[in-house]
Symmetry: C2
Subunit: 406 residues, 2 copies
């Protein structure tokens, strides 16, 4: 008998996301799972649960609803203060996102508001976002800094991420994004030097990943190569904001450095996509930001052809995607881009986990994985994106225990 301290039973369809030849979602009909110490210790047919598992703890009855792994969001900016709702409204009337990236609006505006907020205020805001992530089925996020943009305020943002991980049930993987944009009033060469010489070494213990935005409104290819090259030397794993608003070298840099992810990629070329696939980089696509900025459709067919792994992320941020909902991002990717439900489910679990170096631990359900899963009011996992913009999550289980909104 296997000892367990949590079990879930009667999952109408339990998507393990461990692909089989006949089913990319590796589903078990009328499935069950058991956990101990936060990890899955048994998974199988409901009818075998009682004979194989000794439970001393909570039993959750899914009553025929679907169960999927807790969703994994590979691109979020959860540490910020202030609102840019008016910029959303301006874009509705035709102002472009690019035109908002200067002076009083855009990222610089969020940087000002974030610098003015202290750790406790920022953590409270981020914790409210964590509640919305968990309520909408996400149990793991990548969390970027990038609204501090100097040594002290980027350190503060990393501290907020640390407290967020400590205080909430969300798994939080920290990314240092000092190279998000050049902060207002600062010489860009001096800023890049500060990122490379001061911030990168100082933050190494606090961040798993280093990210940089390669774009005309952000950093040049040379600057991004310098920042991420140094980051790699220091032992950071690499992510790149690449080719979101215009063609550029971001995807090339990601491939050169063997980045874990290249993100956005609306303007990636077929040869860049081939290079990313060869490098084992994951394409992290952000349908929410693409939607509100009226971006072009990313080259999905070229990605499929190159067998590039595609993750789907919320890109939670105050400028272009103020949404913690991966199911909404999945719906957008299906409707706007023609991705299939199976592709977006894999994208918000397995491929997202791979881009975070958490393969087999999150984004799937098997012996040894974290017991993070979501009970969803849907007739099949593939039906989740069909319920557009309405939260169908009934229960979120994080680390082998039921989560309740706080």
């Amino acid at each position: 008998m296997i000892r367990a301290d949590f079990a879930l039973r009667h999952a109408g369809q339990l998507a393990t996301m461990m692909p089989r030849p006949d089913d990319p979602l590796g589903r078990i009909k009328d499935g069950a799972l058991a956990a101990h110490g936060g990890r899955v210790v048994w998974i199988g047919d409901d009818r075998d649960l009682e004979s194989q598992v000794t439970l001393d703890g909570d039993l959750l009855d899914a009553a025929g609803a679907c169960v999927i792994p807790g969703l994994v969001d590979a691109h979020t900016h959860p540490v910020f203060a202030g609102s840019r709702a008016d910029e959303f409204a301006e874009r509705v009337s035709g102002v472009t996102y690019h035109a908002q990236q200067s002076g009083e609006r855009g990222i610089a505006r969020t940087v000002r508001a974030t610098r003015e907020a202290d750790v406790s205020a920022l953590t409270e805001l981020a914790a409210a976002r964590a509640n919305r992530f968990l309520a909408n089925g996400t149990t793991t996020i990548e969390a970027k800094t990038g609204y501090g943009l100097d040594l002290d305020h980027e350190a503060k943002s990393l501290e907020v991420i640390r407290q967020l991980a400590e205080q909430t049930r969300l798994r939080v993987i920290p990314t240092f994004l000092g190279a998000h944009t050049v902060p207002p009033g600062v010489d860009r060469r001096a800023y890049v030097r500060s990122v490379i010489d001061e911030m990168l070494p100082a933050f190494r213990p606090w961040a798993v990943f280093c990210d940089a935005w390669c774009e005309a409104s952000a950093f040049t290819a040379a600057e991004v190569r310098a920042v991420l090259g140094r980051a790699k030397e220091l032992g950071y794993a690499i992510r790149v904001h690449a080719a979101q608003l215009a063609p550029g070298e971001g995807p090339d840099i990601a491939a050169e450095l063997g980045a874990s992810s290249a993100d956005h990629l609306e303007f990636a070329t077929p040869s860049q996509i081939a290079a990313l696939a060869k490098a084992g980089t994951v394409a992290v696509l952000c349908p929410g930001a693409n939607f509100t900025t009226h971006g072009p459709r990313p080259p999905i067919e070229a990605m499929r052809e190159a067998k590039l792994a595609i993750a789907i992320a919320s890109d939670l941020n105050p400028g272009t995607s103020n949404s913690e909902s991966l199911p909404l991002a999945m719906s957008l990717a299906c409707v706007q881009w023609g991705m299939t439900p199976a592709e977006v489910l894999t994208g918000a679990t397995v491929h997202a986990a791979h881009s975070l170096k958490l393969d087999g631990l999150v984004g799937c359900l098997r012996r040894g994985s974290y017991a993070d899963c979501v009970v969803v009011d849907a007739e099949s996992p593939e039906a989740i994106p069909y319920y557009v913009g309405v939260n169908r999550v009934l229960q979120t289980v994080a680390g082998g225990a039921l989560w309740e909104p706080s």
Copy 2:
């Protein structure tokens, strides 16, 4: 002193939706309201509440969050069984909605599933939908039949709507939509005759509105004129599914009959729009269905120019818009169509109420209106569509009492 049995205070911005020259939302900063017997009896500045109102009942503290009237959804199809998630997935891969309207798919499929379900099963499904409406801020819906399509099953659907109104806190306004599509295996002339001669007279006590779909895949202009003309004689108020998939006479018929609403209108012409405005008909636009079917943008500019009142509806239905969220519909109308936040807020309150002949009672907050309101975690009412696809509703108040999910 005014006696009240419910009060709400500290609304950071309380949108009355009673327009003033300086503010189309008629907002009160740090506002409060009091209700008695389900109606608003006092509304004003928070600082005046205690001196003007004697409260014997619950006091809800909005703690600075926004308060808006309960949203009004002027176009929903909440009485159905079965799923069409696979049709959503097929459209992702390029199949058109029109091509799905025959044989084994489309509306006919939902008709089969709905006929097989009894009143109790259908009411349970509809009540789950009511919970999602209320959770997402909607307190009043128009509810159509249209998946029964014979005397007995349309009567059953109207009974479900009656029970839904009785069993839930949602205000439910019934619409008979026998002329939704010609049911499979039935002669269309015989069906139209049955609608006109049997169903319309039988259902008059049970439905406020009669609706018909004027479209190649549904009913001809002559058939719609016959059905809705007879409905009007019998005292029904009129709604028309008009010019959704192709140009047609639906908008003309709506204007001729002085319909309360003409719905969808993607292909309405400028002269039709002028006629609708002159007739006092409300344009009920359905961004969710437009989104998932890749419909063209409705002629918003022509509608603005004609001063045609525009309502925004969820169009909850299993084929094209399986969503009870008006905030999502509002986000879609902003992003996809360039409507402004103020336009979509007015569309989901005042104009929707007008199309349901409930002006001044729902969709606004003033002395005498129903005490239906929503506390929203947003910095302003205009920020609501900025939070795409995430439910920011903190509390729903229906009929002067807090609603809790059942």
